[in-house]
Symmetry: C7
Subunit: 96 residues, 7 copies
Amino acid sequence: MEIQPLEDRVVIKPVEGEEKTASGIVLPDTAKEKPMKGEVVAVGEGKWDESGKNRVPVDVKVGDIVIYGKYSGTEFKSDGEELLIVRASEILAKIG
Amino acid sequence: MEIQPLEDRVVIKPVEGEEKTASGIVLPDTAKEKPMKGEVVAVGEGKWDESGKNRVPVDVKVGDIVIYGKYSGTEFKSDGEELLIVRASEILAKIG
Amino acid sequence: MEIQPLEDRVVIKPVEGEEKTASGIVLPDTAKEKPMKGEVVAVGEGKWDESGKNRVPVDVKVGDIVIYGKYSGTEFKSDGEELLIVRASEILAKIG
Amino acid sequence: MEIQPLEDRVVIKPVEGEEKTASGIVLPDTAKEKPMKGEVVAVGEGKWDESGKNRVPVDVKVGDIVIYGKYSGTEFKSDGEELLIVRASEILAKIG
Amino acid sequence: MEIQPLEDRVVIKPVEGEEKTASGIVLPDTAKEKPMKGEVVAVGEGKWDESGKNRVPVDVKVGDIVIYGKYSGTEFKSDGEELLIVRASEILAKIG
Amino acid sequence: MEIQPLEDRVVIKPVEGEEKTASGIVLPDTAKEKPMKGEVVAVGEGKWDESGKNRVPVDVKVGDIVIYGKYSGTEFKSDGEELLIVRASEILAKIG
Amino acid sequence: MEIQPLEDRVVIKPVEGEEKTASGIVLPDTAKEKPMKGEVVAVGEGKWDESGKNRVPVDVKVGDIVIYGKYSGTEFKSDGEELLIVRASEILAKIG
């Protein structure tokens, strides 16, 4: 099974229940919106620019570990995995 | 009978009541907005770019299986089939 | 009497009380916004592009049968006929 | 006395109390916003395009009979006449 | 003392308490927002276009009599005079 | 100590408690939002234009006396002075 | 561990509990939103311009001391440090 996100969308496999990550990032338990962490498993081809002739590049690639806002995107389940589709513009940073 | 969606709109035939799909996608039953799945049965020619001289390409084609937000688009019935018209920008991903 | 809609506006003569249309489209009686059907009787010349030098083409022509959102546009009566003015961007699809 | 509307604004002299017009347009008495009818008595030079070098043409001229939304524009009185200033983009159609 | 408005802003000296003006404009006493009248006493150089290389021209000049929305702009007092700063895009028309 | 505002932001040292200014501007005590007066003490380099290749010029310079909306900007204190950072687009006019 | 913010985002290490800074900036304790101070520790490559061919430069660099709105950005913890990701456009000024 393969998922091809459209435009600048990205499929992310969330990394759950991990208090202290390998890279040392700990996501805080505060009142502010907490960012989540996950691995990019599929990347769209990018949005068309305003002329409709070129696509705007997407700044992440498959395998990147990224952090993103807790309420970003749309969840779905594929082959038993909980996945998330978000727009790349909602991804805050790559870590590693 | 033929339906020609305008601009970047797409006609989708929803795939209903399918808990586990052939491709392995299971749409979750959670509090978050659940994506729906369907087959593209007609595609618009695309929106005009800002100069009005070229159309911006539409990223799906007839026959594509797509997932989209539950509350996207407008429903209608044609020859007994429940169909949906959505803008291509509201389609999250192609699967297959 | 003649009506010339401005910009990308279109005059539509609604097709009313028709449960099952010639083309087989049946508009559903559900909770979601129901699309309406009508015939295009006049078409604007199109909006100016951002340079003000060219008009963006309008994607429908007189005689097209179209579907559009129930709450789209402005109603008026001309020579005893109930008509509607909508922007072409609010028209969902052509059928036939 | 002369009024020169700015940008894409147009001065309209409303046609009031006319149930059935010469051209056959009757404005309905329904729950939806009713369009009004009037004669264009002055037209602005047009808005500047985004470069500030050219003006975008205005699609009506003095003498045109137009229909427009009931709540469009700003009323004022000049030499005893009730007039209205609206942006041309708010004018629905020319009739005649 | 001199006031130089920025961008497309204009300084207006309101004409108050004048029921019937020299030019014959009478501003109505109705429920709708009433336009006000004043004389332009200073004009900005214009907003930069999107390239930041040219300014978009301002459509009024010092000495113009203009009408504008009652709630437009910011009032201030200079040398005992009540003045108003509004953006030129909020000025409805020149009269005279 | 030096403050370099970013984009089109400007640092202003407010002129307080001055009922009648040297230039003759008196800021009124009315119900409408009252403009404030201050001296520009630092100016940003300007926002990038949409291509990201040129900056849009900022229309004020250090030493200018400006008026601005009462609720504009963000206050901070530097070396005992109360200062304000506002975007240049929020500055109404230069006076002097 | 390394964090690479996306687009025009910047990672900031807040400077906390510092009433009077080395550079003399004291952040006030008033009713208005108070700006915060911090050190830039990572900078994104910039947003793509509208053509998707060039990136718009980011106006800060690693090591810059910046002030920013109290409610800007998203907090996270990395290697025991409280960090913040904000868009560069939300940074008010560089100080030093």
